[in-house]
Symmetry: C2
Subunit: 234 residues, 2 copies
């Protein structure tokens, strides 16, 4: 299996970085090939802008998605985007590894999504959800957060975690066609003991040993919708 | 009323920019004071990093939220953050104006959230939701998207829009204590006629004339939870 880990944490000694290193070690032990995009170490530029396109299909007005198509087709998209896109297309499994910032990804990772998940190749027209361009690949989110498990759930203060993560799990990863696995969550990380943290790393390692047997989460199928994306009457 | 508009679109001639300009014009006509942070024009840096802190409370290990507290208290936080924070604290109404990228904010705006909504002042400890640090202010999201209105709803392909926006509306804006207004949505913008676009601008203008009478959306109250944030038995 080919695995791309996209890691985003501002502190190189963070627990999130330990989760990333554990994943590299465990996956390589299993004989998988692993590439890591450490966005902070790479000083990855997260800002989707006209500077991403050396040649423009419309120099007077930038529709970012249309320029992505043109840039990929003509081989003129920014080199840093092309390099990440190559890794993404290479991998069988994408792991996004990050701390929750405001119930979502740090901006540097959001920018990786904005810039690398290019229109035309990853999605476009009716190519999304179960017809998305990355169909056949799988995605796994590994996150750390300050909150505790009891703060997330239907009756809990923040509601269910999967609903807070919907724009990422459904709106992004499932949208591209990838099979999305249940997220791995490191709860309350800044406040727990060293021993508990080691247990989290061990759970992560164990989880990575059984990924092949895991079902993917359920998301909409375009089969249930008509050409104009109204739900079909059963 | 003092209004801060944070605008984020890579194309200066975009419809999103027209919504921003319409808001400035209409609000000033009403006699309000308006400041605009045009993040692309400012080349705003969205990456939360150790570079944000000239003086560190812990030089060996960066817990970003703790360094935010230290940086604000000691007046050593990065100047660009302080400038935005001053505008945020000044305003009575915050308008976030942007195109949807992957069912959420463009990375440059996510980074404004990551860096400017500083721990200690905006939130921290039990100061969140209806006890958040920005209580008394209001927030209004104005967004454009490619999708059509029928694609969002309980039975629709993408589910309800307010659920897709939950990390922003609830997890960010309501979390800080601000009263959150119903978002203003420009549907299907890249595909509609010039006439329809002008109608959207007109609806936006009308909406801005009646903000005072609008109820805010409902979010959790900390009164319903005990000290450890378990829900109180009624």
């Amino acid at each position: 299996m080919k695995v791309l880990i996209v890691h985003a944490h501002p502190e190189p000694k963070s627990f999130s970085a330990a989760l990333k290193s554990t994943a590299v070690e465990e996956l390589e032990l299993q004989g998988h090939q692993v590439q890591v995009s450490d966005l902070y170490a790479m000083q990855f530029n997260p800002v989707a802008s006209t500077a991403d396109f050396a040649s423009r299909s419309n120099p007077n007005y930038c529709v970012y998605a249309l320029e992505q198509r043109h840039g990929v087709e003509s081989g003129t998209i920014a080199h840093d985007i092309q390099a990440e896109l190559d890794k993404l297309l290479w991998c069988d499994l994408l792991i996004l590894n990050f701390p929750i910032f405001w119930f979502s990804t740090p901006a540097i990772l959001k920018g990786w999504i904005d810039r690398v998940l290019v229109s035309g190749m990853v999605y476009g027209g009716k190519r999304f959800y179960d017809r998305g361009g990355l169909k056949g690949k799988r995605a796994l989110v590994c996150l750390t957060l300050g909150g505790q498990e009891h703060m997330f759930g239907v009756e809990s203060i923040h509601g269910p975690l999967d609903i807070m993560l919907r724009p990422l799990l459904r709106g992004t990863l499932a949208y591209t066609g990838m099979g999305v696995l249940e997220p791995f969550v490191g709860w309350h990380i800044p406040y727990i003991s060293q021993e508990s943290r080691l247990q989290v790393l061990e759970s992560w390692r164990t989880r990575l040993q059984t990924l092949d047997d895991e079902p993917t989460l359920s998301f909409p199928s375009l089969d249930d919708f008509d050409e104009s994306l109204h739900r079909r009457r059963v």
